[in-house]
Symmetry: C2
Subunit: 433 residues, 2 copies
């Protein structure tokens, strides 16, 4: 197909959609050279309130429609860009775009994590492309790595900091010694966290992204519901003090492993050795470490969110789609889903643990704790006891264990909680090497 | 074109060629699924001595030929993989492969750096692909980033640790306080450095790789000869002591910048702030930091050499070529070279500097040094004086400057060398932020 131009239909004119429109306009010449022909924005599906946005002021009013029927009636749209977010109505609109034979590009992690498999199948049947590079890691090139660069590898593990909001909060807690709520408040002031921060701080956003990465890496459909999840809201400044003392950073890590028999997928805070690369990823930055049998470790780092980095990935996907349209071929989504895999139950997961206990300040307490842990096949790697409160006659004890099974640790915790010398289980956090 | 299989011709059966052959065989089924049809090794051009290599013992003898005519006479070769290295005869063979209408894959950085533009043109005329992902950064996905993921970006800078041998040597010097020659000897023992290490330690290898990255990033032909180059052999354990004291790591950095008017390309040791990500890249690992106007900073990290990571990139290129052959299209090399660009002369480059001088241990020396620097528009950020030798009545002074122009620093150095109080200019190293 030799086309004079490729038409773009944009759904959504929020910060991402607005930035994509701005890049398409400001870089029209360079993008035309990359794509092989001009990329022309033909129609923008907006909400009435979008028309007041500053970037909308710079665009031709004739591009806008609030009517989805009018949007799809535009005959010159070859590529539909979905920048609405969430599942509804994005799923309906994207399905309709693919069903009408248009290529599609989206940055919608929730949509791809929950409905990626069905959308890919539809795209395949329709002979069009569906691209979603921006759905994980913003501008960091990630998705295509699994589809192209790493295809010769058996992927054994993914270790990812893929939520900038939580990483920003954890960085402030570490550097400034503040507690979770004040770090969160600061993140909200700066616009890094939503007024309702649950999606980020409870790790939900990370499970969407991990589901996408794990599905790609392991060639099986991994749903967000398959992923064990803990957020960062229970972390205290005390945990950060001990982490620093012991040579660790605390990060919210998304972990996926494949041991051939089963796959392991989980999102929770971890202690990471402070000299590891992931421990150095601070602020709103993201990083994804991938282990493959040939490449060993590769790591991708960058800004995981924000309109500019996200537009970089969305526009790259538009250019790739345009090249396919021009060449008249579709390389396929690369979402090669094989049979369902067994997900390892969290109770079977093996890690080391950090354990912080408030205890009665009297002799022999560590011995009692060690006995309970030992009875559950958990051995102690190191222990420190400090911060005694002479008035309350309490102290704090921190234990780092050797590798142990989660179910043994949970049983031990339950039993520790019953000891009269244990006032409170302050926290327990998994330790990754 | 609907093919039952894609034929591979492999030139060279050294460690890289041997590993590629091994992956094609061991992962035949998974690769066939990725490529859309089986990838079959049809012929291997070997040297007589290759036949004794352990991996050659496992391969069918009928695959081997020492005769390049016999290699090219094999009709079932669709993709030629060049794993010979160096320019001659690799250039001749690769040219012949492309001229005969075969797609080509190479890991040969010297060849691509010196002859990439002409080879890409030939591939374009022949309507075949020429891929070279493994030429820079081993298994780290890099080359395709500029051709796909970052296409919407104006690339402003590249900061790269792209030679594992020198990074290994520098890491040992930093950690163990040993001098260059003993760290080199250890690298040679371990096989990380060649018996003749010049290509690595003098930065030549890094200039090949930087030439490729800069050509891709800036859309102009950058030759290795355009690149200012200094190696690591003049670094001493003294420099590492001061670096640590001042909060810096020392790395051999390949730097490319584009300020729109001119481009700046250089390879030399630098002081990097110890809390920067690149400063944390230790041992044989490589990392490439790319700055784009949309993505801000992205960093790619991994093993930059070695047969396994290199085979990951070579086989990914083979799969990508096979997909193109199957689809009957060629996306093009992405090596879009625009007009020649002005290369900034090294004398115009502006950086901060670390300066180590052996001086006479008497009052007023720092004042004299500061005067000379000041006369050349160089101001001092910090200075330390120590290690006085009471017998020889000498001391050492170390200065970190503010930003200054290279030509001013060179004039100042020349004048400092003439001061009677300056016994020797110990070293001077550029400081990057």
């Amino acid at each position: 197909m030799s086309k004079k131009s490729i038409g773009i239909g944009l759904m959504g004119l929020g910060v991402i959609g607005g930035q994509v429109a701005s890049v398409l306009s400001a870089k029209a010449e360079a993008l035309a050279e990359q794509a092989g022909c001009p990329l022309v924005l033909r129609k923008v599906k907006v909400l009435p309130q979008d028309l007041a946005r500053p970037w909308a002021q710079k665009m031709a009013r004739g591009l806008f429609t609030t009517d989805i029927e009018e949007f799809f009636a535009e005959p010159e749209i070859d590529i539909v860009v979905e920048a609405i977010g969430g599942v509804s109505p994005a799923l309906e609109y994207l399905t309709r775009a693919l069903a009408s034979g248009r290529h599609a590009v989206t940055s919608n992690k929730e949509l791809i994590a929950k409905h990626g498999a069905e959308l890919m199948k539809l795209a395949g049947r329709q002979g069009v492309g569906l691209r979603y590079e921006a759905s994980v890691g913003g501008g960091i090139p990630l998705i295509s790595r699994f589809q192209y660069d790493l295809v010769a590898n058996k992927i054994g593990g993914i270790y990812a900091i893929i939520n900038g909001t939580t990483n920003y909060i954890l960085t402030r807690m570490e550097r400034e010694g503040v507690d979770f709520s004040s770090a969160l408040a600061r993140a909200q002031e700066l616009g890094y966290a939503e007024p309702n921060p649950e999606n980020d701080v409870e790790g939900i956003d990370s499970t969407y992204k991990l589901a996408i990465l794990a599905s790609l890496a392991f060639h099986t459909e991994v749903s967000p519901d398959d992923i064990y999840r803990e957020g960062i809201s229970k972390l205290t400044s005390r945990d950060f003090q001990y982490a620093q003392e012991l040579g660790f950073a605390i990060k919210l890590l998304a972990i996926a492993k494949d041991n051939d028999r089963e796959i392991e997928v989980r999102v929770h805070p971890v202690f990471l050795p402070e000299d590891s690369l992931l421990a150095k990823v601070d602020g709103v930055y993201n990083a994804v470490l991938v282990e493959g049998d040939l490449v060993d470790k590769v790591l991708f780092f960058g800004q995981g969110a924000g309109p500019l980095p996200t537009s970089s990935a969305v526009v790259a996907d538009i250019v790739a789609s345009a090249r396919e349209i021009r060449l008249g071929v579709v390389a396929g989504s690369g979402w090669r889903l094989g049979p369902a895999r067994v997900i390892k139950p969290m109770s079977d997961v093996i890690t080391r643990y950090y354990l912080r206990l408030n205890i009665a300040d009297r002799p022999g307490v560590l011995a009692q704790i060690a006995r309970v842990l030992g009875e559950h096949q958990i051995s102690i790697s190191s222990a420190i006891q400090e911060l005694a409160d002479p008035v309350a006659e309490t102290a704090e004890i921190v234990v780092i264990t050797h590798s142990a099974q989660e179910k043994n640790m949970q049983s031990a915790l339950s039993e520790l909680g019953k000891l009269t010398v244990v006032k409170e289980i302050g926290n327990f956090i998994r330790v990754e090497a």
